[in-house]
Every structure is written in structure tokens, then in C-alpha cells.
């Protein structure tokens, strides 16, 4: 009688006719108000910030770490790395000569290199010749692409192997010079 006036009639009826197992849960759900959920009022312009915050948390699938090694992209990155290393050497030496011309002039450098043991000289020659020759021959391969040659997969692979072979031969030739 009392519950009908307050307006909980349907709720208590639901509880009374609910199965025995879940009855206590339903009682608690209707009697304990849902104060666990908090509502925050936001303007529509806040959507961009929320979207970008979500984008930051999104994971990225592996790509660079799982790509199969191939002559195409290995040759390309090797061209860039060898070019960068040789240019860094050129830049480093030129800036060093600019800053301290007396320490880095040719006489000192030749003297320093002449005083090194033979195996260091040979290793140094290989370390300098191999990137230079690879960058040279792969550069020619790249220029031939720019002229429209070797643009098929077969052509690129053939030119790539030819460049690697030429690199090996010319490195040996340079080191023995």
C-alpha cells in the first residue's frame, strides 16, 4: 500500500516476482542509487582534444622490425648510410681545419697516418674504400633509374648484384693501390 503511493510499486513488484537467486541483487540495485557514475558536461569543441588523446594511446603494428631484408631497400638505405658517413667525414675534416688549421694541416695528417701499424692502415683503407665504391656504383644505378633504365624488379635486382660485384672488385683494387 505504502509503496504504491511513493511510486516504487512496479519496482517492488519486479523484486517480488523475480527469481529467488537474483532477488537480493535486484533489491540492492533499486535501493542503492547509482552514485558511482559521474557526468561531466563538455562543450562540442572539446571533442578534438579527446580524439587526439585517444590517438596517442593507439598502438602501432610492427613494420620496420618485421620487413623481410631485400636487395631493394637494403641497397637504398646502404646508399644513404654510406653517403652520410662519407659526408660526415668531409664535413668533420673541413670544420676541424677551419677551426684549427695548424693541427689538421696535411703534413700532420700524413705524418700521423704514416706512423700507424700496417694492419691499421689496411683496415682503414677497407673502411674508407668500401663505402665510397658502393656509394659510387649504387649512385650510377640510381642515375640509370632516373633515365628510365632497370626499373623492373628483375632489372633492379640485376643492377643491384652488378653494383655489389663492382664494389667488391674496386674495393680490392683501391686497397691494393
Amino acid at each position: 500500500m505504502m509503496s504504491a503511493r511513493i511510486g516504487l510499486g512496479s519496482a517492488t513488484r519486479r523484486v517480488a516476482f523475480a527469481p529467488v537467486i537474483g532477488r537480493n541483487q535486484t533489491v540492492l540495485r533499486t535501493l542503492i542509487p547509482k552514485r558511482g557514475v559521474q557526468i561531466q558536461s563538455l562543450p562540442p569543441s572539446a571533442s578534438e582534444e579527446i580524439l587526439n588523446a585517444q590517438r596517442l594511446k593507439r598502438p602501432s603494428s610492427p613494420h620496420f622490425t618485421i620487413y623481410q631484408p631485400q636487395l631493394t631497400w637494403l641497397g637504398s638505405i646502404a646508399n644513404r648510410v654510406t653517403g652520410g658517413a662519407l659526408s660526415a667525414l668531409l664535413y668533420g675534416f673541413s670544420l676541424a681545419y677551419l677551426v684549427a688549421p695548424d693541427t689538421f694541416d696535411s703534413a700532420h695528417i700524413v705524418e700521423f697516418v704514416a706512423g700507424l701499424p700496417d694492419y691499421v692502415k689496411y683496415t682503414g683503407k677497407v673502411i674508407l674504400a668500401a663505402p665510397f665504391t658502393f656509394h659510387f656504383w649504387n649512385g650510377l644505378r640510381h642515375l640509370s633509374w632516373d633515365m628510365g633504365k632497370f626499373l623492373s624488379l628483375k632489372g633492379a635486382y640485376r643492377a643491384g648484384y652488378a653494383a655489389l660485384g663492382a664494389t667488391a672488385i674496386s674495393t680490392v683494387a683501391l686497397v691494393l693501390m
Binding site: 537480493n24 540492492l28 559521474q38 659526408s87 675534416f93 681545419y97 696535411s106
Partner: protein
């Protein structure tokens, strides 16, 4: 007695319900977990969102210019092609006999290196994604190239020159 025991047993279940769990999780969300995560898109500050605007805004493209486009490409390839005969010539002659060749080779090498480094900066540290480090690196590279040009000139003028140096060091 039995009803009160049933009440106690069902109490924890309300906290285990969906709403209760979300409240707990959001309360416990720690900032530290996001610093160890991989963040796609590179460094990010709140003032430079990774993607500007919403998904309905068009992509911003750079202003088209032949200077930075086709002319740059053509110049790069012509320079690289010219380096081939110059290097071959430097191999067979000595630098002191042909100082003009030596100077041209030095200039071309520095320009070739600058264009290469610039491509690396544009590829890996583009100013669209790295609005502060990108331009800093670009201008550092330009300053360094100017310094290198001066250094190469000084070396070729006051010392034996690049080709001669390489020849002497190689046979030292």
C-alpha cells in the same frame, strides 16, 4: 539471519558490476604507463596535436614550387652525374697540377653532401611533425655547409688540396 547473509554476499558484486569497475579504473589510471608506451607520430606537446582539426578537415599540402620540386630534382641529378667524370679525372691527375678541377670537385662534393643531408632531415625530422627540432636541424645544416665551404676553400688555397691529401694519405 539468512537474508542478511545473502545481502552481504551480494554487496561486493555491485562493485564488480560494469559501472563500478570503470570508476575504479579511471581513478587508478597512472600517467607513468603512457611514458613507457610507444607513441606513434613522434614527439608531441599539447600545443602541437599530431593531426590538426577533425577527420573532416582537408590535409594541408605544401605550396607547389618548381624551385623546390622539379628544378631541385634536376639539379641534384645533374650534380651527381657531373661528379662521376670529375672523380675519375681527379684519380688520374694530381691536384696541384689542376687546381681549378680540385676546386670544382671540392665545391661539387660539398653541394652533393648538403643535398644528401637535407634529404635526410626532410625524411626523418620533417617540420610538420617536429615543428621545433626540424627547422633547428635545417638551419644547423646550412650553417655547417657554409663553414665547410670556407674550410675547403682555405684548405685548397693554403694547403695541398683535397685530391692531393687523399692521394698522400692513401699511400702514406
Amino acid at each position: 539471519m539468512a537474508s542478511s547473509m545473502l545481502l552481504l554476499s551480494t554487496l561486493p558484486r555491485t562493485f564488480a558490476s560494469a559501472t563500478g569497475r570503470n570508476v575504479l579504473r579511471s581513478a587508478l589510471q597512472v600517467r607513468a604507463s603512457s611514458t613507457t608506451q610507444y607513441v606513434p607520430g613522434g614527439p608531441y606537446t599539447h600545443s602541437t596535436a599530431i593531426i590538426r582539426g577533425t577527420v573532416n578537415d582537408p590535409v594541408e599540402f605544401p605550396h607547389p614550387s618548381k624551385m623546390h620540386g622539379s628544378y631541385h630534382w634536376a639539379f641534384e641529378r645533374l650534380l651527381a652525374a657531373s661528379l662521376v667524370p670529375m672523380t675519375a679525372a681527379a684519380f688520374v691527375t694530381s691536384g696541384s697540377s689542376y687546381p681549378v678541377l680540385d676546386g670544382l670537385l671540392g665545391l661539387s662534393l660539398v653541394m652533393h653532401s648538403h643535398i644528401g643531408f637535407d634529404s635526410m632531415v626532410v625524411d626523418y625530422v620533417h617540420k610538420r611533425k617536429f615543428p621545433i627540432i626540424g627547422p633547428i636541424l635545417t638551419w644547423t645544416l646550412r650553417t655547417a655547409t657554409v663553414g665547410v665551404l670556407v674550410g675547403v676553400y682555405q684548405f685548397n688555397a693554403n694547403d695541398i688540396g683535397l685530391t692531393e691529401l687523399i692521394a698522400k694519405v692513401w699511400t702514406a
